[in-house]
Amino acid sequence: MSSLSVNHLLGIKYLNLNDLKLIFETSDHFKEVINRKIKKVPSLRDVTIANLFFENSTRTKISFELAQKRLSADVVNFSSSGSSVSKGETLIDTVNNILSMKVDMVVIRHSSPGASVFLSKNVDSCIINAGDGTHEHPTQALLDAYSLIERIGDLKDRKILIVGDILHSRVALSNIFTYQKLGAKVTVCGPKSLIPKHIESLNVNIETDFVKALNQCDAVNMLRIQNERMSEPYFPSIREYVQQFGLNKQILDSLNKEIIVMHPGPINRGVEITSEVADSDQAIILNQVENGVAIRMAVMYLLASKLY
């Protein structure tokens, strides 16, 4: 197969194993492209893409924009601050107004879960989800899995641990879907108050003992505490959280094997992960960022071939 089974990238949930493999294979080629002296190919020169960021972002926004520019697409950027959203315009109206200026593809980040699915049903354009509330962040999960495969090979029967604020994390959900489709086993770990109810229905293990969970995994993804999504405290104090779930060098060295450390960023150094660990050889955090551009190029290239 050389085309995706979907016309939008709304979440990993909607992709099948062949889609994942095709995206990874295509990313290999784009990774080669972005390591050339001239990092640009003309594939999408007749495609216009709007980046609609209704929520803050550094990495994802820059990564998408670089990927678009390296595919020679035309790019328009939008962020909700300073826009007509504050004047009371609805999401559909905002997007339809932008689309009437002949935009072919929309990359959207929004604080409401399901915003991208909603848009795909209501506007006539190709939608890419760059994070919708606490729901999914598909390109992040794709680049996580791609970076991990690059480091440790096939993920079949590998054990992957996700630690931290699972409740508010869209990365966690997309991670779970991706790793499971690739045949890996997923465990989540964190304070009970930050583990969503009914998560076991997704076939993931729950472990509240951090060190025990670490000893059983091949790779760990350390998530940030999403304070901006918490209206009330979910745990007594940051200090207590760090003591129970913070990853430091001593814990890492005490494990029975060398595990891979991932982080989707932004890092809160000294909270979920210490600087020493984040900057160590076991961490692939910057590889993840590098691969993000290749993954996003692949996704947009594959979706663009389905336009018209």
Binding site: S2, E32, S43, L302, A304, S305
Partner: protein, 181 residues
């Protein structure tokens, strides 16, 4: 309609040898010349030529690169089929080198146009030449002609020229296949 055999293994072998000697005549020891096969089907031809050149002079080391042109094609999104990329492998500098682009069939010339574009991402070669095993001479859509040509074939647009290689297809041969209308 049954496919028409244009070349058998012996004829193909003769042509490959002739192309080799033409290359040696023009490029001596290949110190300033590199071969670049266009993915996917030009690579097999390039590998064959490289082997023959090596047999002829075992001390001579000739660089061979593989060039994928998928992302540079002008029929992306105009073609029903999705385009699948192959690997590019150019682990030498092409700066100031003479490049011999190698493809099995030269048809509309659009692949070669894309290849010229793709090469620019790697530097500025001194010159670029084109070697094609089959030249479908009446089908060109761009002003592109081969510098080295195996055989010229007169064909219609609805026909297809298929080059088979022993390594992949079980025999060395070239067929003219008529597609259904």
């Amino acid at each position: 309609m049954t496919p028409k055999k244009i070349l058998n293994a012996n004829e193909l072998s003769t042509i490959l040898h002739r192309l080799c000697f033409q290359l040696i005549e023009d490029h001596n020891d290949f110190s300033e010349t590199v071969l670049v096969g266009i993915q996917p089907r030009g690579v097999q031809l390039a590998n064959r030529l490289l082997k023959l050149l090596a047999d002829n002079d075992k001390n001579n080391k000739i660089d061979l690169g593989l060039l994928d042109i998928t992302f540079f094609r002008d029929d992306f999104r105009r073609n029903e089929k999705s385009l699948k990329a192959s690997a590019t492998k150019l682990d030498f500098s092409i700066e100031n080198k003479t490049i011999i682009l190698i493809d099995d069939v030269l048809f509309t010339g659009r692949s070669i146009r894309a290849a010229l574009d793709a090469l620019q991402s790697y530097g500025r070669p001194k010159s670029v030449q084109l070697l094609a095993l089959i030249d479908r001479r009446f089908s060109r859509e761009l002003p592109i002609q081969p510098d080295y040509c195996g055989i010229q074939v007169d064909s219609r647009l609805n026909e297809k020229v298929k080059v088979n290689w022993n390594e992949n297809d079980g025999e060395d041969s070239v067929y003219l296949i008529k597609n259904k209308e």
